[in-house]
């Protein structure tokens, strides 16, 4: 099952991944980082992720550390 792994300690809340995921599976979370910014969360209840890795390709902080197909 395709999925991604996010390292929240690296996320700087730029939200580039939110606009990049073609399926809209990455969303702004209500949880906040140590810096007080909203984190992102990956929710794929209907198994829509195809493991295209576009989110990881565009993440400037290597916070998306793994993509599985």
């Amino acid at each position: 099952m395709a999925h991604i792994v996010i390292d929240e300690s690296k996320c700087k809340s730029c939200f580039i991944c939110v606009g990049t995921c073609p399926k809209g599976l990455i969303k702004k979370s209500n949880r906040v980082s140590k810096l007080g910014d909203n984190l992102v969360e990956f929710k794929d209840e209907n198994n829509e992720c195809i493991g295209c890795a576009m989110c990881a390709t565009r993440c400037p902080d290597l916070a998306i550390v793994e993509v599985h197909k």
């Binding site: 690296k10 390709t57 902080d61 197909k69």
Partner: protein
């Protein structure tokens, strides 16, 4: 099946110190991936620059030598001539490469040094607070051009990739961007070519990477990428300007 993982040439648990949304992080990752793929990790020496790009040696697990502002290509020349068996590259910003170090950068290409140069063009001096740089666009407001860049006062932005392509010793010169996934993939291809010309002993390999500086542009990361597409690429066209391996 895992289709994406962190490059092995990056230091373990490294955390970028770049601003949120800065494209430097993507460029560093592409370099690390290529060091992995070309099996160069153990035989690479990096000549580090001054500016935001200086932090590369905190992130890449390679040996590095720090150069005074703009002189990375001069140091890299010395390193490569002393140790021609090593893979030597520089990673510089546009202010370091094309303003303060324009002489060193150009003459390394003219001498056909077997080096690879990577220049991150974000149209400003990012680390020092967003001053006018050599690539600042006409009309762009910076802290030292608060009314915008006027051509009569400040001149025109330098087109680095075209300039380096004119040097006879250049084997490869290209300009790429990181604003879309397609452009990131093209950037990796260009970087691979710039690495390969050095490995094949063909001469100077150079890639200019159009990048964002959301902090000093005072934009969100998404707005900054729109600016790359709408304002930077029309002035700095993407493409390969010299490639001695083609025809």
């Amino acid at each position: 099946m895992q289709v994406f993982s962190l490059p092995k040439s990056m230091k373990e648990n490294c955390k970028y110190t770049f601003c949120p949304g800065c494209d430097h992080g993507i460029a560093v990752r592409l370099v690390a991936e290529l060091l992995d793929e070309l099996n160069l990790k153990g035989k690479t020496i990096l000549a580090a620059s001054i500016g935001c790009s200086v932090f590369l040696y905190d992130f890449l697990d390679v040996d590095a030598i720090e150069a005074p502002h703009g002189r990375a290509m001069a140091e890299a020349t010395g390193v490569k001539r002393a140790r021609p068996d090593k893979f030597v590259f520089t990673y510089q910003g546009d202010g370091d490469f094309a303003s303060i170090g324009l002489a060193e950068s150009t003459h390394a290409a003219i001498r056909a040094e077997n080096l690879t140069g990577i220049c991150i063009n974000n149209t400003t001096y990012g680390m020092t607070g967003g001053q006018l740089g050599p690539t600042t666009l006409i009309g762009q407001k910076t802290t030292t051009s608060p009314m915008g860049r006027f051509k009569d006062t400040y001149g025109y932005p330098i087109k680095i990739a075209e300039h380096i392509a004119l040097c006879e010793g250049t084997a490869f010169s290209a300009r790429v961007a990181l604003d879309t996934v397609a452009h990131i993939n093209q950037a990796k291809k260009a970087l691979r070519k710039a690495f390969q010309v050095q490995l094949d002993g063909l001469g100077y390999g150079f890639v200019e990477i159009l990048s964002t500086c959301p902090t000093n542009w005072k934009m969100t990361p998404d707005e900054a990428h729109e600016r790359v597409k709408n304002e930077m690429i029309p002035v700095f066209p993407l493409g390969i300007f010299k490639d001695v391996t083609e025809g």
